[in-house]
């Protein structure tokens, strides 16, 4: 059999290049109405009343009073209302929907509606902790007492906006008591479960279908549930098809982003310059409600020592609530913040001790058999030494570092090492998700993959079909994988956490092998449910044990030039080496790698988003700058096989891994170019100027 990694043509290539692929905004119905959103213009207030202009008869207002079920968006923490009953808690928060035939008229109505607010005092400082976690490994207190020196630094990161090019959207119908939504989403069952609770409906009264998704990056993980609940309430009330597509501006000001963070790091240093213990405390800004922030926090904290093994750790963290837009899932999910902090911190410790950072870091690099940060075990082979060697070689890191470290060269090269836990954190896969997949062989001898995994560009429609075709040794044309529809596919879990190929694909592969072994002509239906390997133990309360069943690993090297007068940074070239088990399709993996690192590096130096008194200062692509083709660096990616026994063909997670190392690598490169330590991303020209002032 040919190597599974050998690339094939993407199954949706034709429909996507020709414009035939249907995204949610491309659907329409005959007597369709539109929904527009009235939003809060204040950060915190009681709504005393709402004054509408004269409303035509066929224009409907939909608000909290219309919710048949619970006024809560079901996520993980139930602290978000679908429509506010009384109090608004952030600027941009949806208050109600205005629904009607004519979009311009709806805009006008919204424009002329006056909300009477009784202002309350908003909180923007990080003072109100809603979630606090803490764990220890070894004996950090003792280590700090023994220390001959303590090194401390604080690292901070800002917002990042997913900036998928297709804005959020849904279109829905109501027929014979059943609500059907088509949406741009990552998690059909998250949406369905949220709708059941909001509408107080039974399972078969709600149906969620995924449209082709125009990019998501975590932004379409939990946020769409809010929008879907609002639209479904409107559908139940008005009983006509309704379309609800966000404009770019409302998408940018009101949807979830990457959490800003602040990490206080301290290290206990022994007499020979060795690290005895690391203490970290991370705060993340949850925004106006918790949502997924607690889970983001735990992934961040588990990454406390990144790709390094440190014997003693004390890690704590908080989610702070503020009256700002709620933050949530974004590719990397807390890990980018902490990996930036730790990878820079170890480098800074080495610099302070006058030791070559590369040598120093190698001493602490995690090895197979080491305990993880949470006292789990790195069971599988770790091939980072080979990967680092390769990265040094292809980037000529050492030669360049030598030249660039001289004064006035204004160039720099930086290297990050990192890992990413594949799948849900802790026991999430077995307790929250409990994935079920099915494989159906039809009378016509076609094999249908029945899973809820969403192709949002990462190519899973191609790789899943390829996987099944290859295992069953049938042509890929005989394998069917339609866009998920909750009336047809079981809940195989959300399309998040780099779990799709390793976990869902692993189950699909098991089904396929069983099908092959018991192959009979005609119909067959096989299913597999996720079973946590028995050796994986995780204690949620103390955060100890195996946080993930497996890890993907990576090395990024970034070379930059910094303009001597404007401090403008340009990224010259990027080299990456990854261990993701086994690539199911090399070209698709390289595509993920390219896109991920560009997002990750841009997070480190380019993408600026901030708020002033709760108002986001960037609201469109003119203000929020993402890379264009002019910023595109040359990229070289090397994939090293290191098959994971439980992944299909050995595959582990890919999607997030390729983003998380970008920021530390570019930050270190800039550090070399300007000869100053960097503690804050994005490293903008303004920040460089600040650093240069303090000689």
């Amino acid at each position: 059999m040919a190597d599974i990694s050998k690339s094939i043509e993407k199954v949706d290539l034709y429909e996507k290049t020709s414009g035939e692929a249907k995204y949610v905004s491309d659907f329409s119905y005959d007597d369709m109405l539109y929904a527009r959103t009235l939003r809060s213009t204040v950060a915190k207030a009681k709504i005393k009343g709402i004054r509408f202009p004269n409303l035509p008869e066929d224009v409907h207002i939909v608000d909290y009073k219309d919710i048949p079920g619970k006024n809560v968006v079901k996520i993980i923490f139930d602290d978000q209302e679908i429509f506010p009953t009384e109090v608004v808690t952030y600027i941009g928060q949806p208050i109600l929907l205005v629904v009607g035939k004519n979009k311009e008229l709806l805009e006008e109505i919204i424009h002329n509606t006056i909300v009477d607010y009784e202002l309350m005092t908003p909180i923007f400082d990080w003072v109100s902790s809603a979630v606090h976690y803490h764990f220890q490994k070894g004996k950090p207190e003792e280590a700090f007492q023994k220390a001959t020196k303590i090194i401390e630094y604080v690292y901070d990161t800002s917002y990042q906006e997913q900036a998928y090019i297709e804005p959020q959207g849904f279109i829905g119908t109501y027929e014979e008591g059943k609500v059907t939504l088509i949406g741009s989403i990552q998690c059909p069952y998250y949406v369905k479960n949220a709708l059941l609770q909001a509408l107080d409906s039974k399972g078969d009264e709600v149906r969620v279908i995924q449209a082709t998704v125009g990019g998501a990056f975590g932004g379409k993980e939990e946020f769409p549930s809010l929008m879907a609940c609002q639209l479904a309430v409107a559908l139940k009330k008005i009983k006509k098809p309704i379309k609800m597509i966000y404009e770019r501006e409302e998408d940018m000001i009101s949807t979830t982003k990457r959490h800003p963070s602040k990490s206080k790091m301290s290290a206990a240093i022994g007499e020979n310059g060795e690290i005895l213990a690391i203490k970290s405390n991370i705060g993340i800004d949850g925004g106006a409600n918790i949502g997924l922030s607690g889970v983001v926090l735990s992934r961040a904290m588990i990454a406390t020592t990144g790709a390094y093994t440190i014997e003693n750790i004390d890690s704590s963290g908080d989610v702070f609530l503020t009256n700002t837009v709620p933050n949530g899932a974004f590719r990397g999910f807390g890990a980018p913040q902490m990996l930036f902090a730790i990878d820079l911190f170890i480098e800074h410790i080495a610099k302070d001790l006058g030791i070559d950072p590369l040598e120093y870091r190698l001493k602490y690099l995690a090895k197979q058999g080491d305990p993880t940060s949470t006292n789990g075990l790195f069971r599988d082979p770790i091939i980072m030494p080979e990967m680092i060697k390769k990265a040094l070689e292809i980037s000529k890191f050492k030669e360049k570092a030598k030249i660039f470290s001289r004064p006035n060269v204004s160039k720099g090269i930086g290297m990050s090492w990192f890992l990413h836990g594949c799948g849900f954190t802790g026991s999430g896969e077995s307790t929250h998700i409990n994935a079920l997949v099915k494989l159906h062989k039809t009378k016509e001898e076609n094999v249908e993959i029945l899973i809820a995994a969403v192709d949002m560009g990462q190519g899973v429609r191609t790789t899943m079909r390829k996987l099944v075709a290859s295992l069953l040794e049938i042509p890929i044309e005989k394998v069917i994988y339609d866009l998920p529809d909750t009336d047809k596919v079981p809940d195989s879990g959300p399309t998040v956490a780099s779990r799709t190929m390793m976990i869902v694909g692993g189950l699909v592969a098991r089904c396929a092998k069983k099908m092959k072994d018991s192959w009979i002509p005609g119909e067959m239906l096989l299913e597999e449910r996720y079973l946590q390997p028995s050796y994986i133990k995780w204690d949620e309360a103390t955060m100890t044990g195996d946080a993930y069943p497996a890890y993907s690993w990576g090395v990024n090297v970034v070379e930059v030039s910094v303009d001597k007068t404007t401090y403008e940074v340009s990224v010259n070239e990027i080299w990456s080496v990854y261990d993701l088990g086994k690539a199911i399709d090399e070209r698709i993996v390289i595509g993920q790698a390219d896109g991920g690192i560009v997002q990750g590096v841009a997070y480190g130096y380019l993408e600026v988003m901030n708020h002033s008194n709760g108002k986001l200062l960037q609201k469109n692509f003119t203000d929020y700058i993402i890379p264009t083709s002019m910023d595109a660096p040359k990229m070289t990616t090397v994939i090293m096989d290191n098959p994971y026994p439980l992944g299909p063909y050995g595959a582990k997670g890919v999607g997030e891994l390729t983003l998380v190392g970008g920021a530390p690598a570019v930050a270190k490169a800039i550090e070399m170019a300007i000869g100053k330590k960097v503690f804050s991303i994005p490293v903008t020209p303004e920040k460089i100027m600040e650093l240069m002032k303090h000689e």
Binding site: S7, E9, K10, D12, L13, Y14, E15, K16, T17, S18, G19, E20, A21, K22, Y23, S25, D26, Q162, A163, Y164, I165, E166, P167, T212, V213, G214, G215, A216, F217, E247, R248, M456, G457, Q458, G459, R587, I588, I590, G591, D594, G595, G596, I597, V598, Q599, N620, F621, T622, I626, P627, T628, S629, M630, D631, A632, P633, K634, M635
Partner: protein
């Protein structure tokens, strides 16, 4: 209300309506040409790109009145050409299509660029494609795709 006449994908069409509406809305809603995407509505992303007399424009930033007497080609028209096939294959080969939302605009941008300059340098390509945002690919594969289209389509442009 006025009557605007233009050539759309090779056919003469007339629209009665408000001359101030966005070309994007006319094409998507009246003509059901949904291959044209709306990513920002502000002329920043290029997802809504079409060809106006063979030059790329963002249809969200063009009003209907401006196309009177002109020629508009959308992805739906372009896809019938042999140049499109070269572009499609090169996009496939380079892995330049992920979520696909930017793709019709990227294909239009490629056509516009190669029409003006059949043998662009890498720098020409970067400049030529800079009005089209892609959040998935990091652009390297798109730049390669345009290069390959220019090579494979030798003589077509």
């Amino acid at each position: 209300m006025s009557k605007i006449t233009f050539i759309l994908n090779g056919k003469t069409v007339s629209v009665e309506g408000n001359p101030g509406v966005r070309l994007l809305d006319v094409l998507r809603n009246e003509f059901k040409l949904t291959g044209i995407k709306e990513g920002c509505g502000e002329g920043e992303c290029g997802a809504c790109a079409v060809l106006l007399d063979h030059k790329i424009v963002n249809s969200c930033s063009v009003v209907l009145a401006n196309v009177d007497g002109h020629e508009i080609t959308t992805i739906e028209g372009l896809k019938e050409t042999s140049r499109y096939q070269v572009i499609r294959d090169s996009f496939g080969h380079a892995g330049a299509v992920q979520c696909g939302f930017c793709t019709p605009g990227m294909v239009i941008a490629t056509e516009s660029l190669l029409y003006d300059n059949p043998t662009p340098t890498e720098e020409d390509i970067k400049i030529g494609m800079s009005g089209n945002l892609c959040r998935c690919t990091g652009y390297q594969s798109i730049i390669e795709a345009v290069k390959k289209a220019s090579e494979d389509g030798d003589g077509l442009w």
